[in-house]
Symmetry: C2
Subunit: 234 residues, 2 copies
DNA sequence: TGCCCCTCTTGATGCAGATCAAAGGTTCAC
DNA sequence: GTGAACCTTTGATCTGCATCAAGAGGGGCA
């Protein structure tokens, strides 16, 4: 792989926006990779901004410190498929090859931690434990992608939306309320539907008494009957 | 992970059907994993038979010696999504966890090479090179799954069939003829369509002069215009 | 040779979800 | 504070693919 990465100007990503005192904690939070001692800093992205683009060189790997990130692919005519949503603690942008396979954007104002990819790679070449950590993370991504292929290829719109809610529930629900950071369009592009169909499915679940909306924005959802919701997702 | 795998009866998979003299060659062909010296044998599966089932313990990893394999997931009502087709040389059934995430079946009479998973795992724990080999293979699978999510979520039926032909072309075409081992139903379940829609798309491409059928079975295809075919797959 | 089964194609019809459209609510820039 | 842009819902209509249906090879086997 590339070995010249240390030459690149890494000062452009100096941590200027990190919260005071957050650095030591950050070091302990790059998950299992913490045993690989590598360069780490923080960076902040405003809502809607691009973190990296598809086919760009993958010089860093990222972890969401707070906020939310979507990764997507585009067809030449603009059709979009979101591959995953990344929430606090998630690692994304981990590539084995030299370039990113997705575009990553901040869904809301988001702080990420950065790690030099090549330094990690170098460690992995000699440290089997680090290599196994990378393997575990990649396997987690693969498992998710495999489940999502089944959803995209064979599930109905209601099943997809039910599956989405069940996937987000443990990740986003706090104090009984699920606060979705993403728009209906994002959900639609994740589930291979249109935003209207997502909206109708949510209204339908609301009508069935399976969920309730809180506040005005329709992005605060309360799951009232997880049992029936799970029955809708075959 | 599990460490008791050496206790399990591995004699049940003794190589009885391997071609004489094929063993030494086989050992040199488990791709990059050849450096990990592990148990290896061959086994033959008849057309349509199951090689392993979803959620079964993953005691072995497999390589297609000859033939073709499909891996799929099922919904409770029988809807099927094929995740990948595996052809000669391909490795499948590689899991990081303890169980298989797909069911694998032989599409035609197929010979596979087997390798004890746990012995490999043991090697990977200490040998970073082997661990990186596993990472590379898993990444290859992930990349494929990511591309397939885009296809399943956002492409039209004609685009899907075009993409399928372009994917199989370099793998199956010999002497200008692509000999598909799988049925229209298999293709449909891979592409998230019905077999009728796949048949219509192929007929349409035939009518456009982009492909021709050879013989009677409709599984021998000649690609006549790869340029226009590629233009159909956005 | 002839029959059955399996695969594939093709046509007719149906429907889930896409598209088109409109209106109310929220957020943000100025 | 006001207007513009965006987000979401809901209704009407359209359409691509699914479903239902029929029939034509082809291959295996008695």
């Amino acid at each position: 792989m590339q070995t010249n990465c240390l030459k690149q100007g890494e000062t452009m990503f100096v941590n200027i926006n990190a919260h005071p005192g957050s650095r030591p904690k950050a070091l302990g939070q790059l998950g299992e990779l913490s045993r690989a001692k590598v360069i780490l800093s923080e960076f902040k992205y405003n809502k809607g901004t691009e973190i990296f683009g598809e086919a760009e060189p993958a010089d860093y790997i990222y972890q969401v410190a707070n906020g939310a990130v979507r990764t997507h692919k585009l067809l030449s005519d603009g059709r979009r498929q979101i591959g995953a949503f990344h929430l606090a603690g998630d690692i994304f942008g981990l590539e084995n090859g030299a370039t990113h396979r997705f575009t990553a954007e901040a869904i809301v104002d988001t702080t990420v931690r950065l790690m030099k990819r090549c330094s990690l790679e170098h460690v992995a070449e000699t440290d089997a434990m680090v290599a196994l950590d990378l393997l575990n993370m990649t396997t987690t991504n693969l498992r998710h992608a495999e489940e999502h292929m089944l959803l995209l290829g064979r599930k109905t719109s209601l099943e997809r939306v039910a599956a989405f809610l069940l996937e987000m529930d443990p990740r986003l629900t706090a104090a009984g309320v699920m606060a979705l950071p993403m728009s209906r369009r994002d959900i639609a592009d994740y589930l291979g539907l249109t935003l209207e169909t997502v909206s109708r499915a949510l209204s339908h679940l609301h009508g069935m008494g399976i969920l309730g909306f809180l506040g005005q924005t329709q992005r605060q959802i309360v799951l009232l009957d997880r049992i029936r919701l799970a029955e809708l997702d075959l």
